[in-house]
């Protein structure tokens, strides 16, 4: 780094997950997808605020529980209602 | 910074009515001085200028960069763009000494306590078609008078500088006005003291 530009290390930031910590711990309810009944429409992926749902190559979805906050939007928008919001238990 | 602080500086006060172009005259004067290798500054009076009110502008000319920026209270040369303000101002109070020269635009010779030079610049403006929107353009011709009366800058230097400040078709008339004023400027009196 050019002399004098050290401040950019603190002034600038770069994209990385978990910028507000492990937000999965915020969750009270966990979305669980019934993969067998999923119609692979991708709406849960499209509306997830946190970008914690991946819409995979085969159009199935995978939820990143490290960061999912459990808002339940995915379950709400699922047209076939195959996402259940399951109460988290103490591990 | 080696500059004119104590060096010989010529202080010039230009008095006129708002709209007569005193500021431009000061700038042309400084530009003319620059062409002769001199330094200088032209300052407007810092106030709300209104057309018709008595306004001043200043110029300082020196052989080195001029560093002073305070207002000129007493001058070596006082140039008056109209004689009609003579009674409204304290001319003696503006003179550095009794040898301060007064150059005045007047239809006739006027006597003051100072060596006074006069020229009928209004007449020149009328003759040359330099009456614009009812105003006689006299600021440039008065510089011709100043050159004649004081020799501070040469006539040619003034003529050379006019084009930087006056554009378009009136430039030619202004050049002629300066020449005529230079030729027609006369001293009004020797040392006749009124006060």
């Amino acid at each position: 780094m050019m002399a004098g530009l050290e401040f950019t290390k603190y002034l600038l930031s770069r994209p990385a997950p978990g910028s507000a910590g492990a937000t999965g711990t915020w969750r009270t309810y966990r979305p669980v997808v019934n993969q067998d009944k999923c119609i692979k429409c991708g709406l849960c992926w499209l509306y997830c605020p946190e970008d914690t749902i991946d819409w995979l190559e085969d159009k199935s979805v995978r939820i990143n529980y490290d960061y999912c906050k459990g808002c339940g939007i995915c379950a709400e928008v699922c047209p076939v209602k195959v996402i259940d919001m399951v109460k988290e238990t103490v591990v | 910074m080696r500059a004119a602080i104590t060096m010989n500086i010529t202080d010039i006060l230009i008095l006129g009515r708002g709209g007569q172009g005193g500021v431009t005259a000061a700038r042309i004067l400084v530009s003319a001085a620059m062409k002769e290798g001199k330094w200088g500054q032209a300052m407007p009076e810092f106030g709300a200028e209104r057309r018709g009110a008595v306004v001043r502008s200043y110029a300082r000319i020196g052989m080195e960069p001029v560093m002073l920026h305070s207002a000129i209270k007493r001058a070596d040369i006082i140039m008056m763009l109209t004689h009609t303000i003579l009674n409204q101002v304290d001319v003696m109070g503006m003179a550095k000494s009794r040898s301060t020269k007064l150059i005045i635009n007047s239809p006739a010779p006027i006597k003051t306590e100072l060596p006074t030079y006069w020229v009928n610049a209004n007449q020149i403006a009328e003759d040359l078609g330099l009456v614009i929107a009812g105003w006689h353009v006299v600021n440039t011709s008065m510089l011709g008078a100043l050159s004649k009366a004081t020799g501070l800058v040469k006539l040619d230097s003034i003529l050379d500088s006019l084009g930087e400040f006056i554009r378009g078709s009136v430039l030619k008339q202004n050049i002629e006005a300066v020449r005529r004023a230079f030729n027609e400027t006369e001293i009004a009196t020797e040392t006749e003291v009124i006060a």
Partner: protein, 405 residues
């Protein structure tokens, strides 16, 4: 050196137009300003230059000073060399952006044509406006004449873009007294300036551009301690700026034959018993007073402050360690405290050294060399007779015109 000096053109320009000329020579790419007297001549001239294609720049005709600074700040973030200018109320309307711009560490240059603050409305000169931004992280210079206004604006780009600095630079020039006063000055040629001031490297310190590196500037930091560290780094950059300013003016002197000094200009300040301190356009008038006093046998010199930030602490300490007395003339004031330069300097002056602060010339009141001379003379005579005095604040008041009482 003679060769390059010859390449300069002599011109007659008012201070505002000289600043515009410098901005043109620096090849600024984005210019934005909002009209306010007595700054307006700068923006008018630059708009004209852009329209006439004398300069290849975008002129953003904003709706406020706040937007003026915000837009040139954005331009700098986008990698352009940018410029704005303002005065007085306009500067205060920018206040929030001033701090944001400085802490973003983006290079920027702004001319501040100093003017008093209302009410009552007053368009005349006073330094209080530019002084009020002294905590914001801007480098702050004050020119003493039209020539220096041009030189300081041009050199400001070299200073602000230096990777050791990367702080914005405000160039102060006295309202009307410089902004509207035409003076003969020397203007270096574009060719010479181009060789000295290369185009800005848009990637220093960083650039925000569509499709570019996905960096973010300005989100919160993990620990407040990092935020404090950034402040410390700004302070270090201010210290670096002292060296950079000295070097930049030295190299500029090689180019033009003109060196106005670095943070300060010292005229007999090191070998005189008494030192006068001031900044701005009245410096010449103060020098006249000093010069007259020296002819009368007084041992008095002048420390002209060219840069208020970074504060020229070393130069002040130096004179404070050897002078018998220091008198400061402020064309500004901090209500409830005193003249701002006097206040900043006083703490560095030992008790054994006589000290006086004089507030004068506020609101554009003309201050004649004779008035300055009397004030200095009184201070020296008083000190010589009674020993060191210590007065932070005195007011040099003029007779009130039309005051019958």
């Amino acid at each position: 050196m003679q060769e390059t000096i010859q390449r300069q053109a002599r011109k007659v320009l008012v201070g505002d137009h000289a600043v515009a000329e410098a901005v043109k020579l620096a090849r600024a790419q984005v210019i934005s300003a909002y009209p306010i007297t007595p700054q307006t001549l700068i923006v008018e001239r630059l708009a004209e230059m852009v329209d006439n294609k004398e300069i290849n720049a975008k002129f953003i005709r904003v709706e406020s000073e706040f937007a003026a600074l915000a837009s040139v700040y954005g331009a700098s973030a986008g990698g352009a060399r940018a410029f704005t200018a303002t005065s007085s109320h306009g500067l205060f309307y920018m206040y929030e952006m001033l701090w944001w711009a400085a802490a973003s560490r983006l290079p920027l240059v702004m001319a501040v044509v100093t003017r008093s603050l209302g009410p009552p409305w007053n368009i005349h000169d006073e330094h209080t406006d530019i002084m009020a931004i002294r905590d914001s992280g801007w480098i702050i210079g004050m020119a003493q004449n039209v020539q220096e206004a041009l030189d300081m604006t041009l050199t400001a780009y070299k200073i602000t873009e230096d990777p050791r600095v990367l702080l914005p630079v405000a160039v102060g020039l006295d309202g009307f007294i410089l902004s509207h006063t035409a003076e003969v000055l020397e203007v270096p040629s574009q060719e010479v300036v181009d060789g000295w001031l290369p185009p800005r490297d848009p990637r220093i310190p960083y650039v925000i551009e569509p499709g570019g590196e996905p960096i973010t500037m300005g989100n919160m930091v993990k620990s407040d301690a990092y935020h404090m560290l950034l402040k410390k780094m700004m302070d270090e950059a201010m210290d670096e700026a002292k060296t950079v300013i000295r070097d930049v003016f030295a190299s500029y002197a090689k180019l033009t034959g003109r060196n106005h000094g670095d943070l300060v200009e010292c005229i007999n300040c090191q070998n005189s018993d008494y030192v006068v301190v001031a900044t701005g356009a009245w410096s010449g008038d103060i020098m006249k007073a000093i010069s007259d006093l020296r002819e009368e046998g007084y041992s008095v010199g002048f420390l002209r402050i060219r840069f208020l930030r970074p504060f020229p602490e070393e130069a002040v300490m130096d004179i404070a360690s050897r002078a018998k007395g220091i008198i400061v003339f402020d064309r500004d004031y901090s209500t409830g405290l005193g003249g701002i330069i006097a206040t900043e300097i006083m703490g560095l002056v030992p008790q054994s050294v006589s000290f006086k602060g004089v507030i004068a010339g506020l609101a554009g009141v003309d201050v004649a060399p004779s008035e300055v001379k009397t004030a200095i003379k009184d201070f020296i005579d008083d000190t010589e007779k009674n020993g060191p005095i210590r007065v932070r604040k005195t007011w040099l008041m003029q007779k009130m015109e039309g005051d019958e009482s």
